[in-house]
Structure formats: structure tokens, C-alpha cells
């Protein structure tokens, strides 16, 4: 859902291709575009492992957008605490230059993963934190440079090196931005994972003056 939200707010896909759905008290957006949907489905299903992505709450967001009731057979990166970071990059369709990079760093509470300890946190609290992130993403349009050319996006997953990678994923370069501007968003924290969000974007020429 966070990915969808980013796409809409950054104008990567035209507004008409999204259908509005109300969840978590904020209007959420689901894409109608088949290509995007199947990409995200495959991606989030992969990331979801045993239907957990990042944390309980984040999981529900991504599962709702994955449009599949199944898990993909593959290594449960997340549950085993082996998923370190998920990055979404927005690139110019024409030049493949990376214009924006949304970085979600994931810190897994090893006590929870290894010893099955569970921390107390109400669903309400978690939901409030998610809403805060959604609002931040939405408000990012005020300070991020406009993307006024056709763009494409890609998602990168950083895992521990001992993880077996399902065949639908390929090795990638990190797609970094040279001399980026960076903005750190709120982090959010649930019973198992803490997620930090960082946006880096290409320096707008006007900023230099």
C-alpha cells in the first residue's frame, strides 16, 4: 500500500488508473493497471513469505494490495529476520536515471524472532503510526521536485547474504542517486519490526542557486 501511495502521489501513474478504497481511516489507492498489479502482486507475495511483511500492521497493508490469498513458496525472509531493507526507485523511462529513491530500513527484534517473545503494542497505536507515514508520503509532494517526464519504478530488497533467492528476482546494482537530497520520514515500530523511511532525490538544479 505504501508503494501504491507513493506512485499516486508522485504522479508516476495517471490518477485515473487508481481506484480509491477506504482503509485505516485514510483513503487508500489501488491501481487498476494490470501490469502494475501483477508486478506488485508478485513482489508483495514474495516479500510476504508467510504473509508477514515488515510487521503485523504493514503486512496487512501489503497483503490488501497483493490481490492474492496465497503465499509464494520461497524463503520467509522477513519472518527469519533476514530482510534488511526494501527500496523503491523511480527512474526516468527515457534515460533510466534514478530520480527518486524510497528506502525502508527494517530492524528486526531478534528476541521476537528467535525466542518468540512478544511485545505489547495495541493495533490502534500501530494504525496511528501507519497513518502518520501515509500522511507524510502524501505531503511529500510539496517539497519533492516534480516528476514531469514518464517514469518507471522498481523495487529492491536487501537481504542477508545467506538467503536463497527465488528465481523471479535478479541481482541488481543499488541504483543510487549521485549527490542526492535526502529527507527522513517518521519511523514506525510494531511488535516485531522497526521501519525507518528515507527519501533521497535528485538535486533540483534550481536548488543550487
Amino acid at each position: 500500500m505504501v508503494f501504491y501511495s507513493i506512485l499516486y502521489n508522485r504522479g508516476v501513474y495517471p490518477e485515473e488508473s487508481f481506484a480509491k478504497v477506504k482503509k485505516y481511516g485514510l483513503p487508500m489507492l489501488l491501481t487498476q493497471d494490470e501490469g502494475v498489479k501483477s508486478f506488485i502482486t508478485n513482489l508483495t507475495a514474495q516479500l510476504s513469505g508467510k504473509s508477514v511483511f515488515v510487521c503485523d500492521a504493514f503486512k496487512s497493508i501489503l497483503i490488501t494490495s497483493s490481490h492474492s490469498e496465497n503465499e509464494i513458496v520461497g524463503k520467509e525472509w522477513l519472518e527469519a529476520g533476514k530482510l534488511q531493507r526494501v527500496v523503491m526507485v523511480i527512474m526516468s523511462k527515457a534515460t533510466n536515471e534514478v530520480l527518486e529513491r524510497w528506502n525502508f530500513s527494517i530492524e528486526t527484534d531478534s528476541d521476537v524472532v528467535e525466542k518468540g517473545v512478544s511485545r505489547e503494542k495495541s493495533d490502534r497505536e500501530i494504525m496511528r503510526e501507519i497513518q502518520a507515514i501515509m500522511r507524510q508520503i502524501a505531503s511529500s509532494i510539496t517539497y519533492l521536485p516534480c516528476l514531469d517526464e514518464p517514469c518507471v519504478f522498481d523495487v529492491l530488497a536487501y537481504t542477508d547474504t545467506d538467503v536463497a533467492v527465488p528465481f523471479t528476482w535478479i541481482e541488481s546494482d543499488p541504483k543510487l542517486i549521485a549527490n542526492p537530497q535526502m529527507v527522513k520520514l517518521h519511523s514506525f515500530d510494531t511488535k516485531i519490526h522497526k521501519v525507518d523511511t528515507l527519501v533521497s532525490y535528485k538535486n533540483d538544479e534550481w536548488d543550487e542557486q
Binding site: 503486512k59 490488501t64 490469498e69 503465499e71
Partner: protein, 337 residues
């Protein structure tokens, strides 16, 4: 709330962990047909004999739906590669193959001599199995895979659930791509679990997938939802108790509660009577015995678990019933049912 242990556990190796399949059916001949991977087995509940009916070779095809005809004379088997077969189980022979779909057949339902199939190709086909040209009608209305199909007990209405979260009610006499009785869009996830109420005409229960987790009770006459319960877990099956006014839901994934459990709800109040569940991973399918006493849950943990949750037919029975109810922690609860 009471918690009951299962009566029996059968190993189900290679049972596919696929939410959309309906790979289990218990016929009135007391034979349970269940597809495990590329093989289809028959288990006789009277003598526990096991017989392998078929095996698909090659590795890229397998049964995705299994349903006994109402008189258990024929077993319908739908496949991943879109084939639909009718089997005579007495002779272990394939009677015929039915064509029409271009995607896997994950849901099938019988209505007398009509076999209805729902597919990933988004269409519903009604086959008249007596006719040489079996295709009676093809309904193209769903926008995604048809994963739930159930004919009402009287055979006048069909409920179809899709992966696009829609539930359609059809009149048997007036089925066509544009003519549905109701289009119900209340669910927010795939609608696979469907069950018609045995004691109230035209009342249907539907269950939603992971982002929904709701059991909705419908008056299909008026097309309105008369009750809604949030179970907070993916619903893979619903079974009505014919002996007491209750309904059982089977669950898969959840982010909060009821994960991998079976929940029993009183009807019509929909208060929770109890829950069962020893499955180590999600429940994929439910079915009930012909005598309406036992429910089987098929789990991704490759087990079939039998629960005598719907009996006994008469409450408050004497000592002869005690051995059957030994699993119950609270015997008194059953008397009040």
C-alpha cells in the same frame, strides 16, 4: 467456551497450499475424495480403506477441484490445465472430459444433472452432463477467478464468489452473462467460502479472504446483508450445522486472531460458541460428512483433521453418548445447544 480435540487425523502428504482450490468432497456414499498434489485418493469412512483413483503425470497439471454429484454416482474433477473430468468411482473409470474453460477450474458445484464450473478464466459454465454437447451456458460476469460456487438446496439459486471480491446470486432459470439476481460487493477480499442455510430458504453465508475476514449472512431474496461478523482472519470455508442452529468457519492467515482455527458461531445471533484448532498452518478447505456430524479441515500442514463438532443430533442424550463426547471439556455446553 469449550475446546474440543479432533477425533481423527489423516496424513495428507503433498496437499497443495493453495487457497483457491477446493480439493475435498465427502459423498453420500460415505467416501471422501481428496486430491493430494497430482493424485486423487478415495477414503471410505466406513472401513477406512484408501484407494487411489487417479494420478496426473508430467508435473504441470493437478486436480484443483473435486465434487461428488448429489447421488455420489459421479465424481467431478477440475484441473489446473482447465480440463474437467467426470469419473465413475465404482469402476474407477473416466466417463468423459468436458471442454470449455481456458484456465484452471478451482470451483465446481452440482445441481442434479447440471455441473457448474468456475475458472481462472473468469467464466462460469453450466454443463448438462447427459447431453452430447454438454455446454448449456457460459456466464462471463466475474472480473477475476471464480473461486466459490454453491447451488442452493432447492437448486433454484447459484451463489458465485470471485477473486475480485464480488458475490453474485443467479436464478437457475434465468442465468446469462448479463442477468444476475444480485451483485453483492460488500466483501473486501476474495469470496471463496459459501454455504446456503439448511433451515431458512434463500439465506446464504459468505466468507471473505485475508483483507476482509467477514462472515456475511444474506437474504438472497432481497439482496441485503442481514448480519456481519468480523473474524479478523482469512476464511476458507463455511459449514452449517444441520442439527443445531450454528455455523462453522475455517480460517487461514490472520494478523490478529483466529489464525488456522475453526470457529463455531450460534445462529442467528452469531455469538461465538467455541473454537477448535490444532493445525500448524493455515486451513485450506472444509467439508462435512453426509450425516452432518463430522467436519473435516484440510490444512497446509498436510493433515486432514476430523471434528465431531456438529453432533449429536439430539441434545441431552444419556450415558451411551458419553464416549462420543469425551473430547469435550464442558459436557454441559452441548445440552444447552
Amino acid at each position: 467456551m469449550w475446546v474440543q480435540g479432533e477425533k481423527r487425523v489423516l496424513d495428507a502428504p503433498r496437499l497443495r497450499n493453495d487457497y483457491y482450490s477446493n480439493i475435498m468432497s465427502w459423498g453420500i456414499n460415505n467416501i471422501l475424495a481428496v486430491a493430494l498434489g497430482p493424485e486423487l485418493y478415495l477414503w471410505n469412512s466406513e472401513d477406512q480403506a484408501v484407494h487411489k483413483l487417479l494420478q496426473v503425470r508430467g508435473g504441470n497439471d493437478w486436480p484443483t477441484s473435486v465434487t461428488w454429484s448429489e447421488d455420489a454416482s459421479t465424481l467431478a474433477v477440475g484441473y489446473m490445465c482447465s480440463n474437467l473430468q467426470l469419473w465413475d468411482v465404482e469402476s474407477s473409470k473416466l466417463i468423459r472430459s468436458l471442454q470449455g474453460h481456458s484456465g484452471r477450474i478451482a470451483s465446481t458445484a452440482w445441481n442434479g444433472h447440471i455441473l457448474t464450473s468456475g475458472s481462472r478464466d473468469k467464466s462460469i459454465i453450466n454443463h448438462d452432463v447427459r447431453a452430447a454437447n454438454s455446454l448449456a451456458s457460459c456466464i462471463k460476469r466475474h472480473a477475476d477467478e471464480v473461486c466459490g460456487l454453491k447451488w442452493s438446496t432447492e437448486g433454484n439459486r447459484l451463489a458465485s464468489g470471485g477473486n475480485e471480491n464480488l458475490l453474485y446470486i443467479w436464478e437457475a432459470s434465468k442465468m446469462s452473462s448479463s442477468k444476475f439476481l444480485h451483485r453483492l460487493s460488500d466483501h473486501c477480499a476474495a469470496v471463496k467460502a459459501l454455504a446456503w442455510c439448511p433451515y431458512q430458504n434463500n439465506v446464504l453465508a459468505s466468507g471473505g479472504g485475508l483483507s476482509d475476514g467477514c462472515i456475511k449472512i444474506w437474504n438472497t431474496e432481497k439482496g441485503i446483508c442481514i448480519n456481519n461478523i468480523e473474524t479478523k482472519a482469512q476464511i476458507c470455508g463455511l459449514e452449517w450445522n444441520r442439527h443445531h442452529k450454528e455455523i462453522l468457519s475455517g480460517h487461514g492467515y490472520s494478523i490478529t486472531e483466529n489464525q488456522n482455527k475453526l470457529c463455531l458461531w450460534r445462529y442467528p445471533s452469531m455469538t461465538k460458541v467455541g473454537e477448535l484448532g490444532n493445525h500448524k498452518s493455515r486451513i485450506i478447505n472444509l467439508c462435512q460428512s453426509p450425516d452432518g456430524i463430522t467436519v473435516i479441515s484440510a490444512g497446509a500442514d498436510e493433515t486432514l483433521r476430523f471434528w465431531d463438532v456438529f453432533g449429536p443430533p439430539t441434545a441431552g442424550a444419556g450415558n451411551s453418548m458419553v464416549s462420543d463426547l469425551q473430547g469435550l471439556l464442558s459436557f454441559r455446553t452441548s445440552l444447552l445447544r
